[in-house]
């Protein structure tokens, strides 16, 4: 086994996903299969190879720090599931 049900539960918590019991069982099996497949990367010797995070050579993309208009409060809040005045409203954080 590459991954256990306990690990799946731990990862789900990290990912903020409330999985059902069925999903936990399903994903444990499927992730196990996928992780067994990706193990083939261990056949490759990657000593001294520089990792790639960006496929096109680029310098840092800087711009001038200038004041510009933003979309404004009403547009920013237009899709809010819940709001109060000019704020996003969420359930109580501290009991």
């Amino acid at each position: 086994m590459k991954i256990t049900r306990e690990q799946v539960e731990h990862v789900a918590k990290l990912a903020r996903l409330e999985l059902t019991e069925d999903e936990k069982a399903l994903f444990t099996g499927q992730l196990d299969g996928i992780l067994a497949y990706v193990d083939k990367l261990n056949e490759l010797n990657t000593d001294g190879i520089v990792p790639t995070s960006h496929a096109v050579p680029m310098e840092n993309a800087f711009r001038e720090d200038v004041v510009a208009a933003s979309i404004g409060i009403e547009k920013a809040l237009a899709n809010a599931p819940d709001r109060s005045e000019s704020f996003f409203r969420v359930p109580k954080v501290i009991e």
């Binding site: 499927q30 990706v38 083939k40 990367l41 490759l44 960006h54 899709n79 969420v90």
Partner: protein
């Protein structure tokens, strides 16, 4: 010929010569959508009223002599592109009511040229899939055979063209999501070089791989659409500040001396006989056009899927952290506290494939596994990219199949994620290397399903692959074949 069968350049001629108006063309497409949408289900949202308004504005522009090649042309966009004031869902329940406050740069550029927006197209949820079966809004079907998948993730973008519901569309390609559905639906699909087209306002899946590109009826239209959306955008720091060439100028028809590479890793034993036949015929066509063939190797091909499903899921797990039910998107209203709200809203909002990928990506990035999985995959990605850079020292273009088989049947791979992932073997390496690739119609299977040919170019080699694709198209009739719907 019916209006809804025309290409951009054909329709443009008719608009320019005042044979028809944009309103007439738009009505023809809206009628066509009405007639076939029940069977195909290419769209999540049809914006009929908006389209007619766009068409009226375009007709005014044309009358005033202020006309671009896209002015008045009815187009549609994958539902991953933000459209101000128009529902944009990325085919996910978590965005099922999301109305963007601004346009994607690609949307804005097409609007500025006077496009008519017919609507927003179905896709796999968050572009995660190869079949358009994971959409919260239902499955799109292949117009060539309604029992088959249209490919994915830009399945609606390809099906809408095959079913003649739009002249051209935009899709996105993270691991083949433009090229594979184009191949399965018999249209032309172009994935430009990473950085060629701005992703500002394009809902992110895997940010080091995602790229915007067109799906069209022919290669000329592909060149037109790429020219319209390509170019530097200060709002996307990964967009590259190099001039956009006139891609139409590249379509010279001259292939004398073009060196085409055939990578042996892509022409393996057991390749589907219909796909093999199409490739053999394409090679013969290119020989007759004066191209030279070079046998070559991309030695790390076999590792591409493993690399992709670690890097793409890791980036996705980070990108999709923004869907937390706080600022936009679905929120569970009964949650007992903030943490509970995050967990339940995300569980309800995401479908199984998206959750599976978030889980895999979170695992690959988590403490104790980062080096073994994510970092290892990034190093292997370097080897895959080097394969291409080395190859392009001795060839101009690489010719391969797009997919190992023609379109498979609905449900065939839905329960086996690994089998679904393996169907992207010929397209994924191009995204990992960041180069460009185009899918062109190159045959029909014994069951009458389209088979596509992939031409891969070097970084910013769009002109060369468009030229090679165009010459092939002019020498063959495959792009004129139409789905019987």
């Amino acid at each position: 010929m019916e209006l809804h069968e025309l290409t951009i350049h054909e329709l443009h001629e008719k608009l320019k010569n005042r044979e028809i108006s944009s309103v007439e063309a738009t009505k023809a497409f809206l009628a066509r959508i009405d007639a076939v949408e029940d069977q195909v289900k290419s769209f999540i949202t049809v914006t009929a009223a908006e389209a007619l308004k766009n068409a009226e504005a375009a007709d005014k522009r044309i009358a005033a002599g202020d006309m671009d090649v896209l002015t008045g042309i009815p187009l549609a966009l994958k539902d991953i592109f933000l459209t101000e004031g128009i529902l944009t869902t990325c085919a996910s329940r978590i965005l099922s009511g999301f109305v963007p406050p601004y346009d994607a740069t690609a949307t804005a550029r097409l609007k500025a040229r006077g496009m008519v927006l017919l609507g927003k197209l179905n896709q796999d949820e968050f572009a995660m899939g190869s079949s358009t079966e994971t959409s919260w809004f239902g499955k799109t079907r292949n117009p060539w055979n309604l029992d088959c998948i249209p490919g994915g993730s830009s399945g609606g973008s390809a099906a809408a063209i095959a079913a003649q519901q739009a002249v051209a569309t935009l899709g996105t390609d993270t691991g083949g999501s433009i090229r594979q559905p184009a191949s399965h639906c018999g249209c032309v699909g172009l994935k430009p070089t990473y950085g060629r087209v701005s992703r500002y306002g394009v809902i992110a899946f895997a940010s080091s791989l995602d790229q915007v590109g067109p799906l069209t009826r022919d290669v000329t239209d592909s060149a037109i659409m790429l020219g319209a959306v390509a170019g530097y955008d200060p709002k996307d720091s990964t967009s590259v500040d190099t001039p956009v060439p006139d891609y139409l100028q590249a379509l010279t028809g001259d292939l004398k001396g073009l060196r085409i590479g055939l990578p042996r890793e892509y022409f393996i034993e057991g390749l589907d006989p219909d796909v093999k036949k199409a490739m053999d015929e394409a090679i013969a066509t290119y020989r007759a056009l004066g191209a030279e063939f070079v046998e070559m190797s991309l030695p790390h091909t076999d590792y591409a899927i493993a690399v992709y499903y670690l890097i793409a899921t890791a980036e996705a797990s980070s990108n999709l952290a923004r869907y937390d039910g706080v600022r936009f998107g679905h929120r569970n209203q009964d949650a007992r506290g903030l943490l509970d709200m995050y967990m339940v809203s995300r569980d309800e909002g995401f479908g199984a494939e998206v959750k599976r990928r978030i889980m895999l990506g979170t695992y690959a990035l988590s403490s104790g596994y980062y080096d073994a999985y994510y970092l290892k995959a990034q190093k292997a990605r370097t080897l895959i990219m080097q394969d291409f850079i080395t190859a392009f020292e001795s060839v101009d273009v690489i010719l391969t199949p797009v997919a190992p088989t023609p379109a498979f049947r609905l449900g065939e791979k839905a329960d086996d994620p690994l089998q679904m992932y393996l169907s992207d073997i010929f397209t994924i390496p191009v995204n990992l290397a960041g180069t460009c690739g185009i899918s062109v119609p190159a045959g029909l299977s014994s069951d009458g399903l389209p088979v596509g040919l992939q031409l891969i170019g070097k970084h910013f080699g769009e002109e060369t692959i468009l030229r090679a694709a165009h010459a092939f198209e002019q020498a063959t009739e495959w792009h004129k074949k139409k789905a019987n719907i």
